[in-house]
Amino acid sequence: MLDRIAVSEDVPMPEAPRPLAAPGAAVACEGVVLAYGARTVLRDLSFAVRPGERAAVLGPNGGGKTTLFRALTGELQPVAGRVVAPARCGVVPQTERSRLDFPVSALDVALMGAVSRLPWWRRPGRAERARARAALERVGLGAQVEETFGDLSGGQRQRVLLARALVQDAGVLLLDEPFSGLDTRSAELVMGLLDDLADEGRAILVATHDVDQARAWDLVLCVNGVQVAFGPPERTLTLPTLERTYGGAIVELPGSGHGVLPPHHHDH
């Protein structure tokens, strides 16, 4: 076995695809460039997240966080480089992107997660309904199963969409600013849940604005039209990196050590 590894290092095979920086990665990008038509949105992406790791994707609005997620779900093809991702990522979008006027219950929405595992002519059955209920219980919405999605609070809607991803049972979870607009209790619940999901061996990527929260994650990916940095928080969340990520408009909190915050991008 060792011999074969030694041989393959000495004699590179030109036909074989270039091996990934991190074998066994759940999600990875290698020299990826993303563009809408002629407009390049994000370039020089090279990172890998392994199963069980939680990564924060940090960057300003328009920095390419959502575009990156679209590439990982396969919705957007890279113009250069290689994207490694499972065929179906679990996606938790911002709740504003779903139709709040749709007459569906929380259970209906959670049940949509089962669709990905069914052929298109099959309808979700009793087993799927049970799993959808269990997922809603797990996000703390056992009592809101029959409520209309649009009537729920922003934080509750976010948790319903998380329950949908749980029903989907994907190995990779992509969450787009799941904490924006959440009250503290909801945010803690979601954080705890994400920890559990990572412990189960899922790779979790969270687009966020919150630098302080990113310190608690295993990895941080900073993007601002280009990959600024990638690595553990102690290496990536430095003042120079954050200045490059947020274009220099950084507020340093006096007396808080390395308490560096990006300008507030939201008016929630």
Partner: protein
Amino acid sequence: MLQALLDPWKEPLNVRALVEVLLLGATGGALGCWIVFYRLAYSAESLAHALLPGLVIAALAGFPLIIGGAAGLVVAAVAVALAGRTPAIGHDTAVAVVVTGLLGLGALLALAPETPARLQELLFGDVLGVTDADLALAAALGAVVLGALVLLHPSLLLVGFDRSSAPALGRAPAVVDVALGVLVALAILVAVQGLGNLLVVAVLVAPAAAARRVTRRVPTMMAAAVAIAVASGIAGLYASFYLDTAGGASIAGALVLAYGAAHAVGGTVRRAAQRSGTFRRRS
């Protein structure tokens, strides 16, 4: 009273019209919910209007109207797709130009002196003139539409609710859009015979819009839309029988009245529920 209710159904002509109304109501009511959710009312109306030249040419050549209608739909869809590609014009304007052009062309053909004067029938339908063959075809197409709606239900729900996440959940929005477009085209073909190409959109939009006002879940909304469509259709036939009004127009009128009633009832129910606190709206 009972006699008055039963009188119209002594004539086979009216019984055939009743069957047609049941078929249109079931197809249009159920499919209409997705037309409302996907905001396709304008597209549906445009397609229905733009197929007039196909109907006229079929009437002139002695072909079955449904074949002319199908050909007209294909031409209209291609013309709209091509016109919509001009970036400076914009999709809505392109649709309006194409539809007006085709409607005008249809009217021109139908009003040419040497052609039989059937324009009115094509524009406003002839629900009392349907034949057994028409009904068989309408039943077959209606069954296809309803069967497809059952199979596609989870996909339609997912894409309609959250288009951006649908690809990650294994449903391509473009495929679902095309499938729905084909179903809308089939439903228009079913309904155009009874209601004509100016009124057909009434049965595709009004029952679903009315049902949306008084229901809070998709399956109940579909059931309500079918019930409203069928009831309005029957009411229209009675009106046509006793008031001697045009069949298609009477049905379209009843559908719009039903929407008005549902709008009023829905508003009242909502306000009452809000007062009593059962209709919560947090955040």
